[in-house]
């Protein structure tokens, strides 16, 4: 009785759990390196995108760690030389919970506190809604792709693999609050909307996903507070060594 009700089930369950964990640890060992590599690569690409070499930025310090208010803050520093003046740009990875799970964004800031570019490197928002923050519009049409297109392919739309949502952040001033307006899709060639939004220091929300939009702007604002403190600390340290 005891044998059948208690001991046998325990043994069966233990044996199956053992084989399951054996298989999983093997799979984990095979895939772990590649997964780590992907994450690192994605971070690296994002860093290059938000502190672009094409604007003259050269990364001088990567993943600098400081402790602010008991929390660790990691940022990277780049320098840009322009007519014997040196400007500093900063990049940091910021994260906040969105509609479902963390939205991680790499943000590049120039010496005036304006956003150079942002790149969302991780999100699990609703496909078709919040996930459109990462969606790059395809200039190709379905019929064009399969039956040969006579439309000239728009080469300006999609050269840096950034979504319109990410692109509209360029030039936003982080010294002021970032507003959110419901203006529909931002387009590079719609200069009227682009200038209007920049004048109001606002971004256009993704239709049906204001929460995701707000998550990104909030996370940028939160991390900017930390970055400002980090730069202050840095300057203080420079002064002290100069004395």
């Amino acid at each position: 009785m005891i044998m059948n009700r208690i001991i046998k089930p325990t043994i069966v369950l233990a044996v199956i759990a053992f084989f399951a964990s054996l298989a999983l640890s093997h799979i984990n060992r095979i895939t772990r390196d590649r997964i780590d590599q992907r994450i690192l690569q994605r971070k690296e690409e994002a860093l290059q995108r938000v502190l672009p070499g094409s604007l003259g930025y050269q990364i001088i310090q990567k993943d600098k760690k400081v402790i602010i208010d008991g929390k660790e803050f990691v940022y990277s520093v780049a320098e840009k030389k322009e007519a014997d003046k040196t400007f500093r740009g900063y990049a940091f990875l910021t994260s906040k919970n969105g509609y479902s799970g963390a939205v991680k964004t790499m943000v590049g800031i120039d010496h005036e506190g304006k956003i150079i570019a942002i790149s969302i490197i991780q999100q699990s928002e609703t496909p078709g809604l919040g996930a459109r923050a990462k969606e790059v519009p395809s200039s190709e049409t379905f019929f064009g792709h399969f039956f040969g297109s006579s439309n000239p392919v728009d080469t300006t739309a999609n050269n840096n693999n950034a979504s319109w949502f990410e692109e509209q952040f360029s030039g936003i001033d982080t010294n002021h609050k970032i507003g959110i307006l419901k203006k529909g899709e931002w387009r590079k060639d719609n200069t009227a909307l682009a200038t209007e939004l920049l004048a109001k220091n606002s971004v256009s929300a993704i239709t049906g996903a204001t929460i995701t939009t707000k998550t990104v702007t909030d996370s940028i604002e939160n991390s900017m507070l930390l970055l400002r403190k980090a730069i202050e600390l840095e300057n203080k340290a420079v002064e002290e060594t100069a004395q």
Binding site: L13, I27, P127, T141
Partner: protein, 200 residues
């Protein structure tokens, strides 16, 4: 022909979504684009077939009152294998499907088939059942995704269909999925009424 019946059951007479009404959560969630639906089908069919094989293999040594935890252990292991493999080799797909890959664990199609079919039938039958249920699930997903992507996003496989046309937002959101599913059920019942129920 027993195997032919199992195959037809999964695809049509006992279609997991349209007839059995199970596995609706991933169905409604991932059908926003056809390519998502296809990858979801592939992942689910893999897990379903593999877990069916294992469950059928151990059916005689599993004590009946602890069968559910054992089935779940097997299913969860296969899901993690799929998840890690996708993360390592298909990061784009992993990004698109996100949370729905780990959620295959709680897809009732898989536990349902382990419990109802694989734990009572031979290994070969269980493989065929897993494949046919996967195909039935996949066909429903692809048809659903086809209508939702074309009408809701004006796209197919990510390519714009009619340049400049404003798609209907409702179709890409949850109500669009329910409405399309309703129409599919209606179509299925019309066909059944016309050609008879067959099978059983």
């Amino acid at each position: 022909m027993k195997f032919r019946q199992i195959l037809l059951d999964g695809i049509w007479f006992k279609n997991p979504i349209l007839v059995l009404g199970i596995g609706l959560c991933p169905t409604l969630a991932v059908t926003t684009s056809v390519s998502n639906a296809l990858w979801m089908t592939l992942a689910t069919t893999f897990v379903l077939t593999c877990s069916n094989i294992l469950v059928s293999m151990i059916k005689n040594i599993v004590p009946p009152h602890i069968r559910i935890p054992i089935f779940i252990t097997i299913i969860a292991s296969f899901v993690i294998i799929v998840e890690l493999t996708l993360k390592a080799f298909q990061p784009q797909v992993d990004k698109a499907l996100g949370i729905f890959i780990p959620l295959i664990v709680v897809n009732c199609i898989i536990l349902g088939r382990s419990e109802e079919f694989a734990s009572k039938n031979s290994i070969v039958s269980s493989i065929i059942d897993g494949l046919s249920m996967g195909i039935g699930f996949g066909l429903t997903l692809v048809i659903l995704a086809f209508f939702r992507e074309t009408l809701g996003a004006n796209k197919l496989f990510g390519y714009t269909l009619i340049p400049g046309m404003e798609p209907s937002l409702m179709m890409i959101m949850a109500p669009g999925a329910f409405i399309t599913l309703g129409f599919m059920l209606w179509a299925m019942n019309v066909i059944k009424a016309k050609f008879g129920n067959g099978g059983e």
